[in-house]
Symmetry: C2
Subunit: 335 residues, 2 copies
């Protein structure tokens, strides 16, 4: 294993420490140097009267979630160990830190461990008089149920949920309102991914799965969980079609629909290839009469250095589009 | 070779086509579909009265340079074939498109092919009555002369040159003034990189070089050119020291100096590891009394999917810091 790390067991701490220094003044990382559980908040604390937003999950998907802490998106993020759910003792102080009196929305990706630990944490925070609502993101159309979930997995669509719910909170929506917006995004966003090569979890030290030199895994999860099927390497056009078709079908997209098209890199694929996939996906959508009104291309929900990409489509309406366009200022998303 | 491409010989065209669609309204890509030579300009054309900025080089380093076209940075970018200098017939129309009457600064990375082709293009553009000045970026301290250069190579420091010169042009500096600012950045910026694994050029189809399972190349160039030496894999702390020390020595940095610290990913290394390197580099600088006043961490000057990173340090003064902070709005850099 060749990684730019010191002690693999300390990878999350060391990375968060660099992240904190690079973004001082924007975000604050709590728990460094063994001072407590790790969580990340906006510098300056929550905004009085605004609903707080908290998300979290295993590390290894950077910039998700800590890179999305800031104006217009998350108030706090909770990074677990690599590919491992954060613990309730991390989540509770993050929820408390995000609360400015208007309650907190917890945005949870659908993995059994995340669900259980957030549930426990929410109960504990509520016992401390924080009002908390929860939404579960489950945008991955590749598989029903999986190695780590009951029901569909939560993957790159999470970025859209966090961005749009964040804008609703800034707009002044109350907790029920922000939750309703988040659920509308979840109901309208779908994703599917492909892996060309596996990643290696630092403290494991060997690739998460084996793929042959000419083999790809279609429908891969963001932890390298099995997808729909393995197949021989194919062209970008063929692969993109295998990702876009199930998404379009699940959303029942057609003539007159307007969407956000998000091509996400898994971490080890060059940006130039992501743009090729984006171009192919856009053509496939347009051939069905779907208008691509907004776009995002880049590494936003990664799986360490996995090679591959995912396609996320969000069906837009005027309100979702306005909320997507609203200003955002975080380490990883800024406009 | 597993890449998300159709015809490898068409990789640049296909990627630029996706880039154009994803960033419509921000940038315009010329020459798609065989309609002429490839170059990229800001949508809406150059800004009247402002010095135009043009840069270019081989593709495969995305987002450099096309991702930096926009308000506060480049007016035009010229992408060559992968790892291959753009040709004069691409560069000339880019220079012409960037000219709004105040002249054009060409920012060239120090590679023999780039130098020659830009020289030819500048002569041709001048014959068409465009005033052009040229600066050559040569920030890589790893080697004097190399496979592709006389003198030091131009690498990630180019981002700082483009950003800061771009801000000087927006401020209203004339061509001589913008050139002087760019040269001041070049005089004060140094970089050095390391590769953990090679990349594969699409139309070649095999890795650019071989590295053993436990071997790294220190001082690597952005095309996989040989560096200073190969050595066994080491810790992030040890590797970062090998990158930072030559940079500090070359810039003669010490007590009281204030710098921008830029940790750049080569394309295939997770962001989490870049932050580890950033943290280690920052500590090494602070131990010498150097203040890290500004930071940038991410994949900005890549080598396709190469695994590795580079450290760039720019010695700041008040003016360079203000110009770095000035607003920028491009596909890849935005604040």
């Amino acid at each position: 294993m060749k990684k730019l790390l010191d002690d693999p067991d300390n990878a999350v701490e060391d990375s968060l420490s660099g992240f904190a220094a690079a973004h001082a003044g924007e975000v604050e990382v709590h728990g460094l140097g063994g001072s407590g559980p790790h969580f990340v908040t906006r510098s300056g604390g929550p905004v009085t009267g605004k609903v707080g937003l908290v998300s979290g999950g295993g590390s290894g998907h950077e910039p998700l979630h800590a890179g999305f802490v800031g104006d217009g998106m998350l108030d706090a993020a909770v990074p677990g160990a690599v590919f491992t759910s954060p613990t309730p003792d991390q989540i509770v102080p993050a929820i408390q830190a995000a609360d400015a009196g208007a309650g907190v929305l917890a945005i949870v990706k659908n993995y059994t461990g995340d669900i259980l630990n957030f549930e426990t944490a929410v109960e504990l925070a509520e016992a401390e008089d924080v009002e908390v609502a929860t939404v579960v993101v489950n945008d991955d159309v590749a598989v029903e149920d999986s190695l780590y979930t009951a029901g569909r997995r939560g993957v790159a669509g999470t970025v859209a949920v966090e961005k749009i719910a964040g804008a609703a909170a800034v707009r002044g929506d109350d907790l029920a309102g922000v939750k309703a917006v988040a659920e509308r995004v979840i109901a309208n966003v779908r994703s599917m991914g492909v892996a060309l090569a596996a990643c290696t979890v630092p403290h494991v030290g060997r690739p998460s799965f084996d793929l042959g030199d000419d083999e790809i895994e279609v429908g891969i999860g963001i932890h390298g969980e099995p997808g729909r099927h393995r197949m021989p390497m194919a062209s970008a056009t063929e692969i993109t079609k295998l990702l876009v078709d199930p998404v379009v079908q699940d959303l029942q997209l057609g003539q007159g629909d307007r969407v956000l098209l998000f091509v996400n890199g898994m971490g080890g694929t060059p940006q130039s290839e992501l743009y090729v996939v984006y171009g192919r996906a856009r053509t496939l959508l347009e051939e069905r009469g779907v208008t691509v009104a907004r776009s995002l291309v880049g590494n936003y929900v990664t799986s360490l250095e996995m090679q591959g990409a995912s396609v996320t489509v969000l069906r837009l309406d005027d309100e979702l589009e306005q909320l997507w366009d609203a200003p955002v200022k975080t380490p990883a998303l800024h406009w």
